[in-house]
């Protein structure tokens, strides 16, 4: 068995791994499929099976490999094909139905099937390049070109279940380097890099490590926060599913720097694939001697266990997370004492986010100054962001700090589908805010986002168009925070409930203008009085929407009108008899059985039965578009 007892051994193993990696691209045809949860949800497994099936019986030697998420989630399933002597081509939208053409044209044919190609996956280890063809490099794709990929360097490139692939791409070399460096010097390097915690608060990582290093105690814990509770975020999932060893290597470097012997990864149970790939990675690292006793002959002992979260947003908060590991209800504690002095089981504890760890090996290998040269102001380096909502190219990206929201939405994301107007962007999830379209030139860095009342948070970005009602959105977030409030402190427990009550009143058209000032007063009280970050940031979505979209609140209150036609109590649906072709799809889909109509006869919605769920609008064929919405009182429909 391969086991590295020192760094010389490690280099030997790496050389073998590199050779196997290079061979992958020169022997036989290679077919890679993007198989993260996003790809799998787009039927990537069925696609791969279909390719195997098509090729079986043809005596055509081919190798198959799974890779993580390259970030172009909108075009999934993604398949890369590397034929001998040709560059590796990435194809998008390869659903199982497309497979026969893919096999015919891209795999068996001499052609590269240019029409369907998203780009050439140029890797340093593949000698056939995009320059040989008229297909551009994938790295010049509009979604990838503005990116700098550090935390995501291997995502979508290597098989996440292969430690050899990670090694072949230089993995664990930073660990070997760190182990022969004094912990204090590593802390200085990380401080010099300007890296700040990617879990939300942006606390300088090097400084946090120093506190823990200096804390008294022989046993120190190191925790990786993989709770990713923000509904709308999937960066950490993608890193764990696409390149789990990068997180382990980061943890090992941190463990050496602070003097920890026990590591824990706290990962949410909603991410079964991430948990599975982490488990595989941990076993491989142990087998290779990269976890356990006397790692690479340095005398350092360190191992990592996985703790599965159990579905509570507040458990992403560090003190609540530790309470949860200890087996209690996940309720935060007052600080001080800080975890660095008394954390898990009252021992000194250092906690960092998945992405924070994923950046570390690059910082150790290339130096703090290099990392520090990327970014802007006090926000250094890159940030991974998840793009979703009303955007053409939804997916996962990593950009240098300081890039503007406009560049992200329009250059990278390709703008809003249907050329609708962008209304704004939500950053920081339920703890963040809604930044209106007028502020799209705001740079993405910790300070600039705070200036417009939002936060960077974990990096989720959800783009909204005119179809989103701001009041309903604020209500959605408060429903979430109110439900997730752990109940320990009064301002958060009662305050979020009262705020939600007012917001619901507004969406029903029953509020008056005095409710807006009440809402604002409450929001400030909750912000100032809450024990932890959940409560103190919960008012952000309300405060930013009140600041930037007040007229929309007033429209609901004064005129009973929801301009985006979302608030159920203020909207009714009806079928335009002139456009209806009586196809019956709406009647079949209507969960309330409120739609009736005969063959060749326009259908009608019974307003008393209608629950205004909007299913009919979503299913009415676009060429008919017979269903419309009106705000205000119910429309009586006559035929």
């Amino acid at each position: 068995m391969k086991r590295a007892s020192d760094s010389v051994d490690l280099e030997k193993i790496r050389r073998e791994a590199k050779k196997a990696w290079d061979d992958l691209f020169s022997a036989d045809t290679l077919v890679c499929t993007g198989m993260s949860t996003c790809g799998i949800s787009a039927l990537a497994c069925q696609t791969q099976d279909a390719i195997k099936e098509e090729l079986s019986g043809r005596d055509f030697p081919a190798r198959f490999m799974k890779v993580g998420c390259l970030g172009l989630c909108y075009a999934e399933p993604l398949v890369y094909v590397k034929k001998i002597g040709m560059p590796m081509v990435c194809y998008g939208y390869v659903t199982p139905e497309v497979v026969p053409s893919l096999v015919d044209k891209a795999i068996l044919g001499d052609d590269l099937w240019k029409e369907r190609a998203l780009g050439i996956v140029d890797l340093p280890d593949i000698k056939e390049r995009s320059a040989q063809t008229d297909i551009p490099s994938i790295w010049d794709h509009p979604m990838l070109k503005p990116q700098i990929r550090i935390a995501l360097r291997n995502c979508g490139i290597i098989d996440p279940e292969s430690i050899d692939h990670y090694l072949a791409r230089g993995g664990y070399s930073a660990l070997a380097k760190a182990l022969i460096t004094k912990p204090e010097a590593i802390i200085e390097e990380v401080k010099g890099s300007g890296l700040r915690g990617r879990g939300g608060a942006g606390f300088p990582t090097g400084m946090k490590w120093e506190f823990c290093r200096k804390a008294r105690g022989r046993e120190k814990y190191l925790i990786c926060n993989a709770d990713e509770g923000d509904p709308g975020a999937f960066m950490d999932r993608s890193v764990l599913e696409g390149d789990p060893h990068s997180v382990l290597e980061g943890m090992l470097i941190a463990a050496h720097a602070i003097g920890s012997t026990a590591g824990i990864i706290y990962c949410r149970a909603e991410y079964p694939l991430a948990l599975q790939r982490l488990d595989i990675a941990l076993r491989q690292a142990r087998d290779y001697g990269l976890l356990g006793d006397d790692i690479l002959g340095s005398g350092m002992d360190f191992d990592i266990t996985i703790k599965e979260g159990a579905g509570a947003f507040v458990c992403g908060e560090e003190t609540a997370l530790m309470a949860s590991i200890e087996g209690h209800r996940g309720m935060p504690k007052t600080r001080p004492p800080f975890p660095a002095n008394a954390g898990l089981w009252s021992k000194p504890t250092n906690i960092n986010n998945v992405e924070t760890f994923a950046n570390l090996s690059a910082i150790i290998n290339r130096g703090g100054d290099w990392y520090n040269s990327i970014g802007i102001g006090r926000s250094k380096g890159t940030k991974t962001l998840s793009l979703a909502g009303a955007v053409r190219r939804a997916g996962l990206i990593e950009v240098p700090m300081g890039i503007t929201l406009r560049e992200i939405i329009f250059d990278i994301g390709g703008g809003i589908p249907g050329d609708r107007a962008c209304k704004g962007v939500l950053t920081g999830g339920p703890s963040g805010g809604c930044i209106p379209a007028a502020h799209l030139d705001t740079p993405v860095d910790y300070e600039s986002l705070a200036k417009v009342g939002s936060i960077m948070g974990s990096g989720s970005m959800i783009i909204i168009d005119e179809g989103t009602c701001i009041v309903d959105l604020a209500r959605f977030f408060l429903t979430f925070t109110q439900r997730e409030s752990c109940g320990k402190c009064t301002p958060c427990r009662i305050g979020t409930r009262q705020m939600l009550g007012i917001l619901e009143k507004i969406t029903r058209g029953e509020a008056d203008l005095s409710d807006l000032s009440k809402l604002e007063r409450l929001a400030n009280a909750v912000r100032n009085g809450s024990l932890c970050g959940l409560g103190s940031t919960a008012p952000n979505p309300v405060l930013t929407t009140l600041r930037f979209f007040k007229s929309e609140f007033e429209e609901h209150i004064l005129r009973g009108n929801c301009p985006s036609l979302v608030c159920k109590d203020l909207t009714s649906f009806y079928i335009d008899p002139g456009s209806c072709r009586s196809c019956g799809i709406c009647a079949e889909s209507c969960p309330a059985e409120a739609i009736t109509g005969q063959f060749k006869e326009a259908h009608v919605i019974d307003q008393d039965k209608c629950i205004r769920c909007g299913v009919c609008i979503s299913v009415c064929p676009e060429k008919f578009s017979a269903i419309t919405r009106k705000s205000g009182k119910k429309v009586v429909q006559c035929i």
Binding site: E228, D230, A269, P272, A312, S589, V615, S618
Partner: protein, 150 residues
């Protein structure tokens, strides 16, 4: 039940912090946390039933009712909410005849909501028995369930 819990405990490093992993262990074998399980865990760990119950109800992962043969989880994260997650839920809830958080009387399906499956780039999504389906319309969602029912 107590013997089962003791067996689960054997696989853990110790009693410290064992409560949540035990609950997870029970849920993954039994499908939910039964009254017996609450009692047995309290007994084995030497803590009160109310403490076990308090922890079990704090976390949304734990189910206190028997789930259906097939577990349908509709995602209501921000992106799914904005892109039609509610409509999926509404449609499934009506066609299964149960509100979220319940199991059909024949025990075939249970319907739940989930805060986020982290699959926002393919919203709206749902998970059926752990398999995530993306970019769904209410009718497609209904069809996936109907296929399973055959």
């Amino acid at each position: 039940m107590e013997a089962k819990i003791r067996a689960l405990l054997e696989e853990l490093p110790g009693k410290e912090g064992a409560l949540i992993p035990l609950l997870q262990g029970v849920q993954s074998t039994l499908g939910y946390i039964s009254q017996d399980a609450v009692e047995a865990i309290g007994e084995v760990l030497g803590i009160s039933e109310s403490e076990v119950y308090g922890v079990a109800t704090f976390y949304s992962e734990f189910r206190l009712f028997e789930p259906g043969e097939h577990q349908v989880k509709v995602c209501l994260g921000t992106s799914c909410y904005l892109k039609g997650g509610r409509e999926l839920l509404e449609r499934l809830s009506r066609s299964l005849g149960i509100p979220p958080g319940r199991t059909t009387p024949d025990g075939r399906f249970s319907l739940e909501t989930v805060a986020c499956l982290g699959c926002c780039s393919r919203s709206p999504v749902m998970a059926v028995d752990g398999v995530v389906y993306g970019n769904l319309t209410p009718l497609q969602a209904k069809a996936i369930i109907a296929d399973l029912d055959e």
